[in-house]
Amino acid sequence: MPLPVTELADIQGLVHSGYSNLTDASFLLLRIIDAAAARAWLADAPVTTAAGRDESTVLQVAFSAGGMRALGLAESIIAGFSAEFISGMTGDEGRSRRLGDIAANAPSQWRWGSQREPDVLVVLYARPSADLAAWRARVVSSAFRAGFEILQDLPTSDMNGHEPFGFADGISQPQIDWQARRKPGTVADLDYGNLISAGEFLLGYQNEYGLYTDRPLLNPTVPGATALPQAEDDASRYDLGRNGSYLVMRELRQDVRGFWQFMAAQASGGAAAIRLAEAMVGRHMTGSPLVPGTRQISGIDAKDIAQNGFTFDDDMDGLRCPFGAHIRRANPRTGDMPGGRRGLIARLTRMLGLFHPNLQEDLIAASRFHRIIRRGREFGAMLPPDQAMNPDAPDPASGLHFICLNANITRQFEFVQNAWLMSAKFAGLGDESDPLLGNREPHPPGTVTNNFGMSSPNGVTRRICGLPQFVTVAGGGYFFLPGLRALRFMAR
C-alpha cells in the first residue's frame, strides 16, 4: 500500500492548490549572477507551503537543471534527477520533434528558454486587495537582486476562469490521493478513475505502478543531507526529491482573432461558429461537457459530476464529442482495459487479445499513467468571440502561461503532448492533430495533420480542412519545484 502524504509544510503550495482566489500573478524568470547571494536569499525566502491556509500572497520557487548547477549543487547529485529534466525541454531535437516544437513552434523562434533555460522560476500570486506590485517589491529585495538577474517578468491577466478563446478552463484535474485511500493496479483500475497516486505528482512517493520515480538519494555523508527526509524506499539514504515536483512551463500565444474568424468562415452565423469551436474543444464555452456528466467516478466529487462525471464510453460513435476534440486528447478517460471491469474469463480473453469488437478499441493508453496537474495563468487582453470574429478587431496579444506538475515528465507531460495532442494518429484518426494546439505541420512530409472530423448520424464524417495554427509556443522550460527542506539544502 502507498503511504499517505503528511508533510504538507514541506511541499510548495502549488501542488495542493491553484490559488484561484489570488487572481493577480506574475512569473519571474531568473539567471543566477552570484551563487552565494542567491543561496543566501533562498535560505530564508518566504516560500508558501501546502500547510498554509487563506494566504493573501504566495511565493513559489523552482529551478532548472542549469539553475541547480549555477547554485553549486554537485553534478553527481543533479545526475539523480530524470534524464529529460537534465536535458531540458529544448535539449534534444528529437524531444522538440515529439513535442511538436518545430517550424513556428521551434525553440529558435522562442522569446525565452531556447538557448539556455532560465535558472530559476519565481511564481508570485496576490489577492487583488493585497497588491501584487507591493508583494513583488518585497520579494525582489536588494538581497534578491544581489543574487539574481531578472530575464523575463511575465505578466498575467485575470480572465475570470476562462482562457483567451473564451472557454472556461481548468475544469478537469486529477485528484491527488493524499490520504493513500487507493491501492493502484487493482481490478478497479480496469475502469477509468480520477483519484491518482501522490507519486505521480510528488517525488518520493509511490506512483501508479506502486514504484518510485528516479530522484537524487543522498548518503548521510553528504554535508547537510541528514536534514532532508529519509527515502521511503531506502531508509539509509536521504531524499532530495521528496515532496518536490517537476514543473513544466510553456508560453502559449493564442491567435484569438484567427481562431474565431476561422470558425466564422466555416460556419453560418455566430452561433454556429461557437458550436463548431465547442465541438473542437469538447465542452461548451461555459465548461459543461458535450457528453453529459452523469456517472459516479472515483476521484470526482458529487458536486463535480455534471462537469466531469463521464467517460467516452458514453459516446462510442463520437456523435456528441468528436473523436479528435481537445478534451478527448488531453484526457481520454480510459481505464486499463476497454470494457472495464468484467468477469475473469472476459478479462483473460481481452488480455490475450483474442477478442476485439472494433477497430478503434484499445488504441489509447490507460489514462492513469498520463495525468498532469495544470496550474496555468492567462495573459493579454480579453476579446469576446463576437468581437474577435470582426476582421477589424484589435490584437489582444493574449495566451496562456501553461504550467503543469508531474513526477515523470516523459511519461506524463511529454506523452500527453506527443501521443495524444500532437499525434495525427490519435485513436485511429488519420490526418488531424489537436484542433487547438496542433502545429499543422505535415508529418511525415506529405501527410497532412490539419483536418478536423465530426461524426454525423448517417455515418458520414463532416470534415473541416486546412485548420490554421491557432496556438504558437513562445517559450518553455522544465523546472523542479523542490520541497522546503530540499530548497534549504540547495541554499546551503
Partner: protein, 428 residues
C-alpha cells in the same frame, strides 16, 4: 493470398572498415536514419514487394555484462540486413541482386567473410539467419494491396468531400450506393488477390495441427517436469543479477536523433542470453509458442492487445548465445514502452527474462517489464541504432492500414443494413 516472409543477412564487419561502412550507409538516408527510397546505393523503392527493411550495425555495448572470462565478450560487430516482403524471401534476395547487386557488393565488402568475386546471392543465402519467431501484423496483406487500398480510401474521401452537402441528408445505405457508383466510374484499380501458394497452405495447416499434437503427446512428461521446472526457475529468478542502469545520455541522444521522422519507428535491440541450458531451452519453448500464436492466432492486426506493430522478429546469433530483436511500430518509443508495460508485460517477460540483466521477474510472467523505470532503462540500453530504415508506406500506421482494408472489404459486401452501412461510412 500472398503470405509474407522475411530475410536477414548477418555477417561480421572487418573492424578496420567499420567507419567506412557507417559513412557509406549514411549516404542512403534522406532524414536521419531514414532511407531515401531512390538512393543510389540500394534503392529500396524499386522493390515493389518490400514492406520494411533496415541495415543495422550490431555493436553490442552490453557485452561487458558477461563474466570477464567469457569468450563471447570478444564477439564480432555484425552488419545485419533484414526486411519483410511479400512472397518468397529467396526471390526477394534474387531481385536485390539483379537490381542493386553493385550497391550490395560495396556494402558487404566491408564484411570479413565477403570477397568481390563470390556469388552474391549464394553468399547472402549462406549468411542468412532464420528467426526463432516472427510477427506479421496482417498476414496476406501485400504492399500492392496497401497502396491500392490507400488510393481507394483517398478516392472515397474525395467523393465525400465533393458531395458533402448532398450526402449529409441521405440515409447510410443510399450514401454507400452513391459511393459505389462513383467508384465504378472513377475509382482506382483493384487487383484481385493472388491464389495462396499450395506449399505454404499445406505447411501452415500441418503446423496448425502438429504443434498441439506434439504438445499433447509430451504433456504427461511436461506435467511431471513442471514442479521441477518451477523450482529451477525460482532458484534463478531470485538470484540472477539485474543490470539496468540508466542508459548513457549520448547513446539515448543517438537513438532519439533517428526517431519520430515518420508516424512509425524502427526498433533494434541486442543482448546475451543467460548462460546454461535451462534458459536456452525455456527460450526455445517460448519461441515455439510465440511463433505458433503469430502464425495461427495473431494474424489480423494485433499481437495480443498490441495493435501498433507492423513486423517483428526474434533471432539468435552466436550459437544461440545472443538474441536480436527487431520491430517496426507506430508512435514514439514511449508509447511503445507504455504498451509493453501496461498491455503485454507477461509476453515480454516470457522471452526477455532469459536475457542477461533483465529486471527481476516472478514465475516467468510477472514483474520484469512491470518494473517501469528499470525496464525502460534495460530496453534503451540494449537498443542499437539502425543506420538505415525503410518503410514502403510512410505516413501510414497499422490502424490506417486496417481501416483501409475494412473499407475495401465492406465495399465488396453485397448487402448492408443501414447500421452496418453507417459503421462502414464512419471508417471513411
Amino acid at each position: 493470398m500472398t503470405p509474407q516472409s522475411n530475410f536477414m543477412v548477418l555477417a561480421p564487419i572487418r573492424p578496420e572498415r567499420q567507419g567506412e561502412l557507417r559513412a557509406m550507409l549514411e549516404t542512403m538516408n534522406g532524414a536521419p536514419g531514414m532511407a531515401e527510397p531512390a538512393n543510389a546505393l540500394f534503392p529500396f523503392g524499386r522493390f515493389p514487394r518490400l514492406h520494411v527493411a533496415r541495415f543495422v550495425i550490431l555493436d553490442d555495448t552490453t557485452l561487458t555484462d558477461l563474466p570477464p572470462d567469457d569468450p563471447l565478450r570478444e564477439a564480432p560487430v555484425y552488419l545485419a540486413f533484414l526486411g519483410d516482403c511479400d512472397g518468397s524471401a529467396d526471390a526477394q534476395l534474387a531481385e536485390f541482386v539483379t537490381l542493386a547487386g553493385d550497391g550490395l557488393r560495396r556494402i558487404f565488402d566491408c564484411c570479413s567473410n565477403f570477397s568481390l568475386n563470390v556469388d552474391l546471392l549464394q553468399w547472402m543465402r549462406d549468411n542468412s539467419t532464420t528467426p526463432a519467431a516472427q510477427y506479421v501484423n496482417w498476414v496476406g496483406r501485400t504492399v500492392a494491396q496497401i497502396r491500392e487500398e490507400q488510393a481507394l480510401y483517398a478516392a472515397l474521401r474525395e467523393f465525400l468531400q465533393q458531395q458533402a452537402v448532398v450526402l449529409a441528408a441521405l440515409p447510410p445505405r443510399a450514401v454507400r450506393d452513391r459511393l459505389i457508383e462513383c467508384l465504378k466510374k472513377n475509382g482506382p484499380p483493384e487487383t484481385p488477390p493472388a491464389p495462396t501458394p499450395t506449399g505454404w497452405l499445406i505447411s501452415d495447416i500441418a503446423n496448425l495441427i502438429l504443434f498441439p499434437l506434439v504438445l499433447l503427446v509430451l504433456s504427461p512428461f511436461l506435467l511431471i517436469y513442471a514442479p521441477i521446472f518451477l523450482w529451477q526457475l525460482r532458484q534463478r529468478e531470485t538470484t540472477d543479477a539485474v543490470i539496468a542502469p540508466r542508459p548513457d545520455a549520448a547513446h539515448v541522444a543517438t537513438l532519439s536523433h533517428i526517431e519520430d521522422h515518420d508516424v512509425a519507428n524502427q526498433f533494434s535491440a541486442f543482448g546475451s542470453v543467460k548462460p546454461g541450458r535451462f534458459r536456452l531451452w525455456t527460450l526455445l519453448f517460448v519461441f515455439r509458442l510465440l511463433d505458433y500464436s503469430t502464425r495461427h492466432i495473431y494474424t489480423r492486426g494485433r499481437l495480443a492487445r498490441v495493435g501498433t506493430i507492423h513486423f517483428a522478429r526474434w533471432a539468435f546469433t552466436d550459437d544461440r548465445r545472443r538474441l536480436f530483436f527487431a520491430s517496426n511500430y507506430d508512435g514514439s518509443l514511449d508509447s511503445y514502452m507504455d504498451d509493453f508495460i501496461n498491455k503485454v508485460a507477461y509476453g515480454l517477460n516470457l522471452v526477455f527474462s532469459n536475457g542477461i540483466g533483465y529486471p527481476r521477474t516472478a514465475f516467468l510472467l510477472s514483474g520484469g517489464a512491470s518494473r517501469e523505470t528499470e525496464f525502460k532503462y534495460y530496453l534503451r540500453r540494449h537498443e542499437v541504432p539502425s543506420q538505415v530504415w525503410y518503410k514502403a508506406y510512410p505516413g501510414l500506421t497499422t490502424a490506417d492500414l486496417a481501416r483501409n482494408t475494412q473499407i475495401r472489404e465492406g465495399l465488396h459486401r453485397p448487402h448492408m443494413s443501414d447500421s452496418q452501412a453507417r459503421a462502414w461510412l464512419a471508417l471513411i
